[in-house]
């Protein structure tokens, strides 16, 4: 297993070019091309602004401007959820490669995760621009936590992506269940409501066992709440440690089922 993990490093060139290919292919043929990576989050943000300031104004204390608060959680969530739904389908969609070319299968789900990470990065400038527009400047030292949060999310998402990709080959139902599960997960995570809300705190145990709570809260503390240092770091680092273990377990499972992909896809 560890030799395979080492191979993963050898495949970085392949992963890199596949991610580049996905990014290129996504907007190939559209008039605006790459600009869409910026326009999409911008439009999303504008819609939220319209809905939560005009249609159903949200005046919750401490999370104003509300759309900006939401956006800090939604951007990483989009990375997470798109990665998983694409990864679950990645081995099946890449069946041709797995069946006909000697090809390291784990590359495919990881490419899904990394491609969506690039989209996440491309959405950040929009977020930053709006933080500036609303004079909501983050605490500079808190920003040091940002790469840590990204890295942990990358590890956590990759682990789940590997598991889902491997299992979806054998249990095709996963693809269909997944989108509903992700919707449920989204609403069960303090993204569109603040975690310090009393109703959330009442069930804090439930929120504490949800790994994405800690990612979302960390991002919010790093980017949005500029009142003090990041208070959630212990949770974040614990999640990081858990993610390392989860990734190893996921890789073990993926490796274990490896021989079955070429036949079952």
């Amino acid at each position: 297993m560890f030799s395979n993990l080492a191979n993963l490093f050898r495949y970085r060139g392949l992963i890199q070019s596949l991610v580049a290919r996905e990014l290129k292919a996504r907007y190939r043929g559209s008039a605006l091309g790459f600009v869409w990576s910026f326009i999409n989050p911008l439009l999303l943000l504008l819609i939220y602004s319209f809905v939560f300031t005009t249609v159903m104004p949200n005046t919750t204390e401490g999370v104003q401007p509300y759309q900006l608060f939401m956006f800090c959680g939604i951007l990483p969530w989009t990375w997470f959820s798109s990665s998983l739904s694409e990864a679950a389908n990645s081995l099946i969609a890449g069946g041709n490669l797995i069946k006909k070319v000697l090809f390291p299968a784990e590359v495919l789900p990881l490419v899904s995760v990394l491609t969506n990470m690039v989209h996440f990065f491309l959405g950040l400038p929009i977020l930053v621009a709006f933080l500036v527009i609303y004079h909501q400047y983050p605490v500079p030292s808190n920003l040091l936590w940002f790469p840590v949060a990204v890295l942990i999310q990358l590890l956590f998402t990759s682990a789940l992506a590997l598991i889902l990709a491997a299992l979806a080959v054998h249990f095709r139902d996963i693809k269909d269940i997944l989108s509903n599960l992700l919707t449920l997960w989204f609403f069960a995570t303090p993204i569109i409501y603040p975690w310090f809300q009393p109703s959330v705190q009442k069930f804090h145990l439930f929120f504490d066992i949800n790994p994405f709570t800690h990612l979302a809260v960390s991002y919010q503390e790093i980017l949005f709440f500029n009142k003090g240092p990041v208070g959630h770091w212990k949770w974040l680092l614990s999640l990081g440690a858990g993610s390392v273990l989860l990734f190893l377990a996921a890789y073990w499972l993926f490796d274990r089922l490896r021989d079955s992909y070429a036949e079952a896809v």
Partner: protein, 457 residues
């Protein structure tokens, strides 16, 4: 010297993936133990106990029918799947031409796909850069290399895939029936490339249906059937064994085809007769039939639809094609003798009868037709069970599938029993000449025209 490819007692059992493969997640994790106690009904042995050893620098051919396990063998060598039992060992870098252009992304340009495909096949960016021009020239796609691959024709797609794969510069090249990708010119280029590989002491494993290629190209060959090695060794001998087996298979198939045609035609014609009888217009209807389907097959050669009709006053009960030994057969070699034996039963004695025979090729063109009346045999009497044999001394036809008309009718054409195109047989030939008829012939030359001894190639 260690062999480049070695398979020792390799078996591969596929599970039949009908419904769910693993009932629970737990059993999925214990997959290996499950594989061991599989129910026989759920498994499909793709390869059974195959051993082969390919010396470095030689070309090895794998042949067999569709589904015989050729591609599975190739995938095992490529490492794409693992054997259920036995060992597979390969020395050196492998490039597998199993599916060309697998992994091409339709939206991006040929140029970008070459790079990504090359990286997938194990090249570095720099190596691809160095070989890029060679790849593009080989694929003959210079003007289209920057167009998205989705705009390529399938030939262009395959050529590009082939060009990338062959330029990986492997030690072991696995080729799965990919020479059919291009036009004549491209195929020659591929073959030249293979020859170049051979010269530089590289190993080629070639899976193909082209026996010609096996004979011309391979140093050794194996013939797989139902996952088992049927014959192994000298290509000429293996091809010979294979051809014999193929003939037997064809024989069975043609026998089944003929039986089915006769049965369905008979059923249709008896139904028809029943209806005519009910209408009480027996004679008139049959007269019309006679006009519609004149007994002389040559005048109706373009209306080649199979069927059976007639009054059955004289019935054809059995038709058999006989080989040299008088045994029923469906496959003949060009130049063989053939006998068409017709068994008949006359319901009552008749004095007006003509036996007809027609021979059609697969396009429905009448190759030959005759009858006893045309050959000026005057009928006198036919009673009870009878037999008539139409013997051809030498079947001088080119390779192909042929069908027969066999009929008994009156001199005026009124059919007793007309069997149109119900009997199928195949003519085989090692010479791939064209046309329909092969006249007995020989070539003579003046002494200053010289051919190499032996066969071509």
């Amino acid at each position: 010297m260690t062999p480049a490819i070695e398979l020792v007692n390799v078996s591969k059992i596929y599970r039949r993936y009908g419904g769910r493969q693993f009932s629970t997640l737990k059993s999925a994790l214990l997959q290996r133990s499950i594989l061991r106690d599989l129910q026989p009904s759920e498994t499909f042995p793709a390869l059974t106990d195959v051993s082969l050893s390919v010396p470095k620098g030689s070309t090895f051919g794998v042949m067999g029918r569709n589904g015989s396990g050729k591609s599975t063998a190739l995938k095992l060598v490529a490492g794409i799947t693992k054997p259920t039992s036995g060992t597979v060992r390969v020395e050196g870098r492998i490039s597998a031409l199993i599916e060309l252009g697998a992994g091409f992304h339709p939206e991006i340009s040929g140029r970008e796909n070459v790079f990504i495909n090359g990286i997938m096949l194990g090249l570095t960016k720099r190596e691809i850069q160095e070989r890029f021009d060679e790849i593009v020239d080989f694929a003959e796609l210079r003007e289209f290399i920057d167009a998205p691959v989705k705009t390529y024709s399938s030939g262009m797609y395959m050529r590009l895939g082939f060009a990338v794969a062959i330029n990986v510069n492997p030690d072991v090249l696995l080729v799965d029936e990919v020479l059919a990708v291009g036009d004549e010119g491209f195929t020659h280029k591929c073959l030249d490339k293979f020859a170049e590989f051979k010269r530089s002491n590289k190993t080629i494993l070639l899976v193909t249906h082209s026996l010609n290629l096996i004979e011309r190209f391979c140093d050794e060959a194996i013939w797989l059937d139902n996952g088992r090695a049927m014959s192994h060794g000298d290509p000429k001998r293996v091809v010979g064994a294979y051809l014999t087996k193929v003939e037997e298979g064809e024989e069975a198939l043609l026998a089944a085809t003929t039986a089915k045609a006769v049965e369905s035609a008979s059923r249709a014609s008896t139904g028809q007769v029943g209806q005519e009888r009910r209408d009480g217009q027996d004679g008139q209807d049959q007269q019309e039939h006679a006009v519609e389907h004149p007994a002389d097959p040559t005048s109706n050669m373009f209306q080649a639809t199979e069927g059976r009709w007639g009054s059955r006053e004289v019935e054809i009960t059995d038709v058999a094609l006989l080989d040299r030994e008088g045994q029923p057969s469906f496959v003949f070699h060009s130049g063989d003798p053939i006998g068409v034996r017709v068994k008949l039963r006359a319901a009552h004695p008749v004095d007006d009868f003509v036996f007809g025979f027609g021979l059609f090729n697969a396009d429905g063109v009448c190759c030959y037709g005759t009858n006893t009346y045309l050959e000026e045999l005057a009928p006198q009497r036919l009673t009870g069970e009878a037999e008539a044999t139409f013997a051809i001394e030498s079947l001088d036809l080119v390779e192909g599938t042929y069908k027969l008309d066999v009929a008994v009718h009156k001199i005026d054409g009124f059919p007793y029993d007309y069997h149109r195109l119900l009997y199928t047989f195949r003519v085989k030939s090692r010479i791939h000449d064209v046309g329909i008829y092969r006249p007995r012939h020989r070539w003579t030359f003046s002494p200053n025209v010289v051919f190499k001894p032996g066969t071509k190639g």
